[in-house]
């Protein structure tokens, strides 16, 4: 996106234009200087609205649950922003993002904005820029942000680092596979949900999860295990009550402050890394072939090469950065 376009789009965004919001999300998702300009302009507009992460294995009903949750909050006249993340194929770079199929009731609700994202090669279930896309939704004035990702084990910590409250969803059929994913899931979960609870095996699943929770070291917050049937809305009130209770716990204990503190720290480091890397790519790429030859000829090591290039980068006048 060109700079003149960014300014126009930002003006339209602040006037409430949905097309502009979508375009800013694209700019942010594609990264680079345009993304930074957008995020910088939006930063003062962030409201601190609650962020809810919903994760779990494929097929447990996450999208249906998100749909039901969003409708519940719409009933309370809250504006809801949803980011639904699905994996990119590592072979083709393509993706089929199908979460909207379960969210058709929300499709034309002006109080709801749904954005599908592909992971684009990032690990951990979350697209690299999904936090930033959530920022755009938040600055657009949504009262609740929901981030939905596929999680199958050790990779949920990513979403736990982005959301205030992480809901891990399982179904009675998740039984056998749960062993493998237990560690990551249990550590990420603030609230556990057994969805499709009208199916056989639900009780067993709830007991397994509760038994596992009992084996954890005592903590101020123990994740409740909630039964839901997302397709009918059963258990939804329990789930929203549990999420609200967790939010109260976060606020009361100072944990919310700590989580957000940690998040800002990670964010600063990420922006710094991004900038340094862009600058290194711009200024140093031409030097790499020469150093490669020297290392191959035994005149240098990769370490002396990196040190020399880094020194050159730091000595540069910072004024000519961009």
């Amino acid at each position: 996106m060109l700079e003149t376009h960014i300014d126009q789009t930002l003006t339209a965004f602040f006037a409430g234009d949905r097309r502009a919001a979508a375009r800013l999300m694209t700019a942010v998702e594609n990264g680079g200087p345009a993304a930074e300009a957008v995020l910088e302009a939006l930063y003062p507009k962030l409201t601190g609205a609650p962020r809810l992460g919903v994760t779990g294995p494929p097929g447990v009903g996450k999208s249906t649950l998100v749909d039901a949750l969003a409708r519940h909050h719409r009933g309370l006249d809250r504006r809801v922003g949803v980011v639904a993340v699905d994996p990119t194929s590592p072979f083709t770079g393509g993706a089929v993002l199908g979460d909207r199929v379960r969210m058709n009731d929300l499709a034309t609700d002006p109080g709801v904005f749904i954005r599908s994202m592909a992971t684009r090669g990032s690990l951990g279930g979350l697209a690299r820029t999904s936090k930033e896309v959530v920022d755009v939704l938040e600055a657009f004035g949504h009262d609740l942000l929901i981030i939905e990702t596929v999680g199958v084990g050790q990779t949920e910590m990513d979403i736990a680092g982005t959301a205030d409250t992480t809901v891990v969803v399982l179904s009675p059929e998740s039984g056998d596979s749960i062993q493998a994913m237990k560690a990551g899931l249990m550590e990420a979960a603030d609230v556990l949900v057994v969805n499709k609870a009208d199916r056989p095996g639900a009780d067993q699943m709830v007991r397994t999860l509760e038994a596992d929770l009992h084996m954890r070291p005592a903590a101020d917050w123990t994740p409740p295990v909630i039964r839901t049937v997302a397709s009918s809305g059963d258990g939804l009130a329990d789930l929203t009550a549990a999420v609200d209770a967790h939010h109260r716990y976060l606020t009361g204990s100072g944990d919310l402050e700590r989580r957000r503190h940690a998040r800002v720290r990670v964010e600063i480091l990420a922006v710094l890394r991004d900038r340094l890397w862009r600058r290194a790519q711009r200024d140093l790429t031409d030097h790499v072939p020469g150093w490669t030859e020297k290392v191959l000829a035994g005149e240098a090591t990769p370490y002396t090469a990196a040190r020399a290039m880094l020194a050159a980068l730091i000595d540069d006048d910072p004024e000519d950065d961009e």
Binding site: G94, A95, L97, R100, N104, R115
Partner: protein, 139 residues
């Protein structure tokens, strides 16, 4: 910039035959595109709104019910109304030649009938989106 092409694939109208849409969605994915699949029985309003929210480059409609002369123009109108006039609207189904010509005149892109290969569809979307992005960058 070499960013992924995003395409919304939707089944418009009331017929429930989604095999074609799913085959096309897969072919587009395998060509490296990000496909937002919205499923069956989408109204023009749902399609246009989703296209705007997802900021797609193209919308591909699958339509076998015969309602194409109503649905394509309505989606086009709504896209324009919502500021998505740069979004390519294409699609396929059982659409006669005369209807195709008329829809093209209204601003709909290429339409694909029975027997079209996924290769043709992929190539068309890639070329047409590339052309439109170029135009926009030069504007």
């Amino acid at each position: 910039m070499d960013r992924a092409i995003r395409v919304l694939v939707a089944k418009a109208g009331l017929d429930g035959h989604d095999r074609g849409a799913k085959v096309v969605a897969r072919a587009l994915r395998d060509a490296g595109m990000e496909v937002i699949y919205t499923g069956l029985r989408q109204s023009p309003e749902m399609i246009a709104e989703a296209a705007v929210q997802e900021d797609v480059d193209a919308v591909g409609l699958s339509l076998l019910s015969g309602a194409h002369m109503t649905i394509f123009p309505e989606v086009l109108r709504l896209l324009r109304e919502k500021g998505g006039d740069d979004i390519l609207l294409t699609g396929g189904g059982c659409i006669g030649d005369e209807d195709m010509v008329e829809l093209r005149e209204q601003g709909v892109g290429e339409l694909f009938g029975p027997g079209a290969s996924t290769r043709e569809i992929v190539d068309y979307i890639r070329d047409e989106v590339g052309r439109r992005r170029q135009l926009q960058e030069n504007s």
